[in-house]
Every structure is written in C-alpha cells, then in structure tokens.
C-alpha cells in the first residue's frame, strides 16, 4: 500500500466516523468518491444500468447503516467493494445476468465522448471478458482495474487467497488465448495447466 492509498484510506475512515454520527454530507462525499469505481466494477457483473444503480445504492445504504461496525481490519475501499460484490451477486440472482444490448440503452446513457481509441480498446477488452466467468471478471477488475492485492481480493470475495490466485491465473490464460493480437499466436490450452 503506497502513500496515496494510505491517505485515501485515512480520509475514508474519517468519512465513516462522520457517518456514524449521522453526517449525510460525509455520505455524499463517500458516494461521489466511490460511484465511478463501483459503477465500473458492477459493469463487469451486469450491463443493466438500473441494476447497477440499485446495487450501488444498496451498497452505500449498508455502508451508512454499518459504518459503526467497521473496525478497520481492512481498508475502507476493501470493505465497500466486498459489500458491493455481495450486493451484486444478490442482484444477479434476482434479476438474472442477461446483458442489455447497447442498442437498448437510453440515449442519455450512451457516453457523449468516446474517442475512437477508447472504443477500440473497449471492444478488444470486451472480446476477452466475454469468455471469462463472473468470478474471473471480478478478479481481473479488482487486480487490474482497481489495483487490489491478492489478500484484498480474497477479503472482498470471502475466499482463500489460493482461490483468487487460481481465478486470476485462469483468467489471464483465457485472455491470452482470445486476445492474441499482442500476445503473438502462441495460444495454449488451459487443459494443460
């Protein structure tokens, strides 16, 4: 954990303390701070905007209710991502995980500015992520997107570190096989692992 992470965690802890005292302004700060990363994290689980917003609000609602029970065993971000993960899985069970096609998105939800390079990168990533299981996508997002350690991911997903390692390994192998443009043509079979 670098200095930036330490400072961010300290700020988050202060916000939680204020939330325990009923400070809604602190909740608003925390909400805006986490909204972007939660939105992207949950978009690895489902493509439905309504479900994503519902899960974000469930997650921060629980954080508001349980702020007093946060004992600091992990970073605040790890704690919140864990809540979001569990809320996300629950939403998947209730709503199904059928993605909503981009064509069906309301106009207001389509990014107004998406440079061609980003679009190309998203398409490239999408081809790989489509081949991963939900848990593999979550691990890849938490490690590469959010920047969590293996230990953090294990806390978030409530599973052993070895399980996280295995999910990350298999996800990388799959991505390497389905995204060969940069990895060369030395595709391998996961069954040989």
């Amino acid at each position: 954990m670098n200095d930036t992470d330490i400072n961010a965690d300290a700020a988050d802890r202060l916000l939680l303390q204020r939330m325990v005292a009923g400070d809604r302004a602190a909740l608003a700060v925390l909400y805006r701070s986490y909204h972007g990363r939660l939105c992207r994290f949950l978009s690895r689980l489902t493509r439905r905007p309504d479900v994503i917003e519902e899960v974000i609000n469930d997650c921060l609602w629980i954080a508001w209710q349980k702020a007093g029970s946060f004992h600091g065993d992990s970073r605040v971000s790890t704690w919140i991502m864990g809540i979001a993960y569990r809320c996300g899985l629950k939403a998947l069970r209730q709503h199904g995980d059928e993605p909503v096609e981009d064509d069906n998105l309301p106009d207001a939800l389509v990014p107004s500015h998406d440079p061609g390079e980003d679009r190309e990168l998203r398409d490239w990533l999408g081809k790989g992520m489509d081949r991963l299981s939900v848990d593999q996508r979550v691990v890849v997002e938490l490690v590469y997107g959010v920047g969590h350690s293996l230990d953090d991911v294990a806390v978030i997903m409530q599973c052993p570190v070895g399980t996280v390692k295995a999910r990350l390994f298999h996800a990388r192998v799959k991505l390497r096989n389905v995204l060969p443009s940069l990895a060369g043509n030395t595709s391998i079979k996961e069954g040989t692992l």
Binding site: M1, N2, R24, L27, A28, Y31, R32, H35, G36, C39, R40, S43, R47, P49, I52, E53, E54, I56, N57, D58, L60, W61, I62, W64, Q65, K90, R93, Q94, L105, L109, P111, D114, D118, L121, R122, W124, L125, G128, V140, E141, V143, Y144, G145, G147, S149, A166, L168, F169, R172, V173, L175, R176, L179, L182, A183, G184, T186, I188, T192, L193
Partner: protein, 215 residues
C-alpha cells in the same frame, strides 16, 4: 500449474510478477528484475505488452455512465423513508424455490391420497364385515342344540327329509366340503336329548356330533 510461457523458470516468475509490477505494488527489486528479464525474452515482452493494454482497458471509466447525483438523491431519499421501508433489499425475495414447491406438492398429494384411503376404508368397514376371523376374535355363537350331521352319500333325499321331519329338525347350514349339514331343532322347546342318539342310530347317517361350544 504449468505456466503458459513455456520457457524457463524465469518466465514463470515473470508471469507471476507482471500484475503487481503494473500495479506498482511490487518491490523495486522485483520490478528491476522483471525489466531485465523482459529485455532478453520476447515471449514475456509480448505478454507484458498485453498486460499493459489490459490494465489500460480496465482503467477506462465504465461505458454505462450513471449520474451520481441522481443516484445520491435517491439514496438520501431512501434514508428519509420510514423504518419499515428501509430494508436493504426491498425487492421481491424469491422465497419459493422450485425444490420447495415440488416438496410441498408431493406432501399435498400424499395427504390427499391418505385421506381418500381413510374414507374408503371407513366406509367399507361400516358396510361389510370382514371375510376372515382372527384367533383372538370370538367365534359367532352357534345356535342352541345345533348338530353336525353327515348323511351317507347313498341316502335318498326323501329319506333325509323324512328323518328331519320325524326328529323335528331343520337344516341351517351345509352341506360343507365334507358333506356335513348343521341342523337345529325346529323349536327350542322341542329338542329332546335323545335326538342325537336317534340320529346316530339311523342307518343312513354316518356321523352326528353336537356343535361344541366356543372354548
């Protein structure tokens, strides 16, 4: 696990280190080692390039943009709702799993079946006596003065009728499998004790025995 970069042990270590070097959480020593390895391993170079691109793609903001302020207003509104409506998951809860429903259906079918059988058993028990008798059940009482009589096969019907008439007897059962009849006095008062002896003395009667009382 076998590493997909099928070169030496260094490549396996490089594969392991890549995410953490990209994150910036690897030690300086590990980062420098990876840089040295990449300098002379084209396979790991390609892998690292893909990892860099993966990290870049993963760090793009969500392509499903949601308005944080709209969501925040909804959350704050939720905090103001009454306590009963503040459940974290007010959505419909799927309480009846298909297995539960199947078990409930099976129990209902069983209950209906048991009910039908019970009604049927009760109705049949009321209307029809059992066609069997257990040893613990008391036998039906025999008529007073009843006598089992086995006439000879050659005895004519007229002789049998005459005998019954003479001794004032009437047949109440028989013949059974061995040709025995059960006879009783036509009236209780007319049952002289010598009737049995007279029957036994009749030439066409092979056997005459009083019906024993139930022990």
């Amino acid at each position: 696990m076998t590493f997909p970069i099928n070169t030496g042990r260094d490549c396996a270590c490089a594969w392991e280190a890549m995410p953490w070097v990209l994150q910036g959480s690897a030690s300086q020593e590990q980062s420098e080692w990876l840089a040295q390895h990449l300098a002379h391993c084209s396979s790991c170079q390609a892998e690292f390039a893909q990892q860099q691109r993966l990290q870049l793609a993963m760090s793009l903001p969500s392509d499903i943009p949601l308005d944080a302020e709209v969501g925040l207003r909804r959350l704050l509104g939720r905090l103001d709702t009454p306590e009963l409506q503040q459940a974290p998951a007010p959505r419909r809860v799927r309480t009846s799993h298909w297995l539960t429903r199947a078990l409930v259906a099976a129990v209902l079918v069983q209950a209906i079946g048991i009910g039908v059988l019970g009604v049927k058993l009760r109705s049949s028990g009321d209307s029809q006596p059992a066609s069997y008798r257990t040893l613990s059940q008391q036998a039906a009482p025999s008529a007073p003065g009843a006598i089992h009589v086995v006439p000879d096969a050659n005895m004519k019907l007229a002789e049998w009728d005459t005998l019954l008439h003479k001794l004032n007897l009437q047949v109440i059962q028989g013949p059974n499998d061995v040709g025995a009849y059960t006879v009783v006095p036509a009236s209780v008062a007319s049952a002289p004790p010598q009737t049995l002896a007279q029957l036994r003395a009749t030439p066409g009667i092979r056997l005459a025995e009083p019906v024993a009382a139930t022990p």
